[in-house]
C-alpha cells in the first residue's frame, strides 16, 4: 500500500512515496493508517493537523482503504 507525501510529511519520512508495511496486515481504514504512521514516525503526532485523502477527496477516519486507492497524507495546508 503506497501513500503519497507532500510538504512537511515528505520531510518527515524523507521520500515522496511511502510503502506502508504489509505486516502484520495492511491498515483497513484511514484511522488505522494514521495509527501506523504515527507509530513509525512520531513527528506526525506533532503536526497541527494530519488528514488523509483517498482518491483525491478528504477522507474521514472511518473510510475503508483498498490497495487500488490513491492515498495521500495531507499535512496542514498553507496555500495562498
Amino acid at each position: 500500500m503506497k501513500v503519497l507525501l507532500f510538504g512537511i510529511a515528505k520531510d518527515i519520512i524523507g521520500t515522496s512515496e511511502f510503502e506502508v508495511p504489509s505486516e502484520p496486515k495492511y491498515p483497513s481504514t484511514v484511522l488505522e493508517l494514521k495509527d501506523v504512521l504515527v507509530r513509525l514516525f512520531p513527528d506526525f503526532g506533532k503536526l497541527s493537523s494530519f488528514a488523509v485523502a483517498v482518491n483525491n477527496e478528504y477522507a474521514s477516519e472511518d473510510v475503508s482503504l483498498h490497495l487500488s486507492d490513491e492515498i495521500a497524507i495531507i499535512p496542514p495546508v498553507s496555500g495562498g
Binding site: G7, I74, P76, G80
Partner: protein, 136 residues
Amino acid sequence: MYIEIVDEIDTAQVYKDLSDAGSGGICVFVGAVREFTNNEAVVSLEFETYKSMALKEMEKIAAEAIEKWQLNKVVMRHAVGLKKVEEPVVVVGASSAHRDACFEACRFLIDTLKERVPIWKKEVFSNKSVWVSAHP
C-alpha cells in the same frame, strides 16, 4: 470557470477571463510574497501541491461560489515553485451582475482555498526554512 495550477501567474490576463456582458462587477484578489514575516526577512517562498486533488478542491469551491452568489465567471489560479518577494502566488476572482456578490464571492474563494486546497508553502529565510502552519 478557470481553475489552474501554474508556474507563473499572469495578472494582466485575469480581467479578460472574468469580463462578461452580464457582469457589472468584477472583484479580484491577488496574493503576493511579502518581504517580512514576523519581522524576519523572507528570501523566497516555495509552493508545492498535490495537483490532481488541488484542482478538484478548487473546482468544488468555485462551483459552491457560483451557485451561492450566481456568478457569471470565476478564476482560481495558484502558482507552484519558487517565488520571490513581490511575485504573485495566487489570483482568485469573480464576476457578477452587482458588486455585493462578486466581493463576497471573491473573499470566500481565497478564504476557502487557504483552508482546504492541498497546497503547501515553505518560507525560506536566510538561516532556515519553515513549512507554514505545520506546527501549532
